[in-house]
């Protein structure tokens, strides 16, 4: 067994399991210990060690019989607590679901289970995935493993998939699932030095995933490297008749695409992603990224996405509107928390007033307002029109380039307590990730380097619809050029 559990990747674990150098029971046992020892991170809402040991033993038995199911078989992973898991409490980090035990399994977690992977537990997140710092969870905020020793406050891990990235970056799991509505996979990956990938809208089934904004929600992997992201995505994705927006297409071989070089790749640098307020270090890393691609023989050109600045306001109409509709189901009647009232309306109001946290209430109310009679056209229809323009900008650009290179986030991880008074300052975290979400495009964050405080910074690549192979090809080239090996608690 490796002494530092952070040395394990999906690929290396799969290899060691196949060669019989380690069993899934041993590997899983080591990660269960790490999970228990790492509770100060608050990465998990629910730990499932018994279930994990059981599945690990089943995996070992399969392998012994020559029935191993592929590279995920026996690999211990963490599951964002937004995926419904049969018989295992699923909370969405909300009081309103804190006693909810699904009687069914989400398609994505079911796919991973069927691929043989071992679920260690359910990870913390922003309540209903609404947030960029994992500070809105009913179960408390998550600590970023990169928090400097002796700091007065914790660094946030980003959000909403904050527990998932803390678990992987802190060595409590080999990989984890995330979901991304406006950046909830990519921004936390950037804050913790991990790879976070959001596939094309429709690649991963939304069935059984607690819904936030249905036209934007996509599941994806959070891993230590690009190859692992390709392996894990392959297991998660695929057509699902239970989700009408699930793409009826097979996933291409993204792992194979990781071995191709970047020679001749056309890389676009969208000029509108330059922000006045952006730290110089991020601009520098972005320029460095472009230079790496030039050095590898790619054609790097400046491109224009004229409607970029409208993406964030568009998102903050569309996402709350869909959320207000999706969250109408939490009524205290069929499942979840209930607060009794004298009338049905009073019961609804008290249940939702007490069951939802402040940020969720804010967004549900914004959504209710923009969808209400007299305002629907002015806000919601207008936003969906601008969304069309944003998607058209991308479509035009992808006639000329294969991928776009941008920073993932406008800052490195910040301390808990910062940006908390002003919701809009918090929303700006997603300024670079939201446009691809609105257009349904695949995108990936790859660790690019460290800032002067020693905190990781990610670079984002975006490709056209269903062009995941190109995206993985570019991402693995970028990963190789960046050569990022830094880890929390170790100075590079």
């Amino acid at each position: 067994m490796m002494s530092d559990l952070r040395d394990w990747t999906i690929a290396s674990a799969s290899d060691a399991l196949e060669k019989g150098e380690v069993s899934s029971v041993e590997l899983t046992g080591a990660f269960i210990e790490a999970m228990e020892a790492g509770r100060t991170l608050n990465a998990f809402i629910t730990e499932t060690p018994e279930l994990a040991r059981e599945r690990a033993a089943e995996s070992d038995a399969r392998r012994k019989n020559g029935d191993a199911r592929g590279p995920m078989d026996g690999v211990p992973i963490a599951m964002k607590d937004l995926f419904c898991t049969e018989g295992v409490r699923t909370t969405a980090a909300s009081h309103i679901l804190d006693n909810f035990i699904p009687t069914y399994e989400s398609t994505v977690s079911g796919n991973l289970r069927d691929a043989g992977s071992v679920m260690l537990g359910k990870t913390n997140l922003d309540e209903f995935a609404m947030g960029s710092a994992n500070i809105t969870s009913y179960f408390g905020s998550v600590k970023n493993p990169w928090t400097p020793e002796g700091a007065n406050a914790n660094l946030v891990p980003g959000g909403s998939s904050g527990g998932s990235v803390a678990a992987v970056s802190g060595g409590l799991a080999i990989a984890a699932t995330g979901t991304d509505t406006g950046g909830s996979i990519r921004q936390p990956a950037s804050f913790t030095g991990l790879v976070g990938m959001k596939p094309t809208y429709g690649r991963c089934s939304r069935w059984g995933v607690v819904a936030f904004a249905s036209s934007l929600d996509q599941a994806g992997p959070l891993t230590r490297n690009v190859e692992d992201a390709a392996i894990m995505l392959q297991a998660m994705a695929g057509h699902d008749p239970k989700d009408s927006t699930s793409l009826p297409l097979d996933m291409p071989d993204c792992r194979a695409a990781c071995t191709r070089d970047a020679k001749g790749l056309r890389v676009g640098i969208p000029k509108e992603y330059t922000l006045d307020s952006m730290p110089a270090e991020i601009q520098k890393l972005w320029d460095q990224g472009a230079q790496w691609f030039r050095d590898m023989g790619a054609d790097v050109v400046e491109v224009s996405l004229p409607h970029t600045k409208y993406a964030l306001p568009t998102y903050y109409i569309v996402a709350p509107a869909e959320a207000s509709s999706n969250l109408a189901r939490y009524d205290g009647v069929r499942y979840g928390f209930r607060k009794d009232g004298a009338s049905l309306d009073e019961m609804y109001e008290l249940t939702r007033g007490e069951g939802f946290g402040a940020e969720v209430q804010r967004r549900v109310m914004i959504g209710t307002y923009v969808l209400s009679a007299g305002y629907y056209d002015a806000y919601y229809v207008k936003a969906q029109q601008v969304r069309t323009l944003i998607a058209e900008d991308f479509k035009k650009v992808f006639n000329d380039v294969d991928v776009l290179l941008t920073p993932t986030a406008p800052s490195a991880a910040f301390f808990e307590g910062e940006k908390m008074d002003d919701p809009i300052a918090m929303y700006l975290n997603d300024v670079f990730t939201v446009p691809a979400s609105l257009a349904g495009l695949p995108a990936i964050s790859v660790p690019g380097g460290l800032d002067t405080s020693g905190l990781p910074l990610g670079l984002q690549l975006i490709s056209g619809v269903c062009q995941e192979e190109t995206l993985f090809r570019a991402a693995s080239a970028l990963e190789e050029a960046a050569g990022f090996t830094a880890r929390p608690g170790e100075m590079a």
Partner: protein, 95 residues
């Protein structure tokens, strides 16, 4: 367009969220900030632009319209806060 305390009270009721009176005023401020900020979309010329209805253009497969599962009342009711026999319990709604 600026939201008043009464507007927020109305929106909160539409959303069926009980907001304590003392929170209405601060909430009006927070919502006004957000609404004021998203109103910059007014600058964009969207004449003749179709509102997006489908993120990824694709043929949606059809399935047969048939019952695929059922008879799982216990499972369906297993998380009900106030299950009464094979029913959900709610406060009295009919006088």
């Amino acid at each position: 367009m600026s939201l008043t305390k009464d507007d927020v009270r109305k929106i909160a009721f539409l959303a069926r969220i009980r907001v304590p009176d003392e929170r209405l005023e601060p909430l009006a401020g927070e919502l006004n900030n957000i609404v004021g900020w998203v109103e910059q979309l007014g600058e964009v010329n969207t004449d003749g632009v179709e509102p997006m209805t489908s993120v990824v253009e694709t043929e949606t497969p059809m399935r047969k319209d048939e019952v695929t599962e059922g008879g799982i009342t216990d499972k369906v009711l297993s998380n009900a806060p106030d299950g009464e026999g094979p029913f959900y319990g709610v406060p009295k709604v009919v006088e």
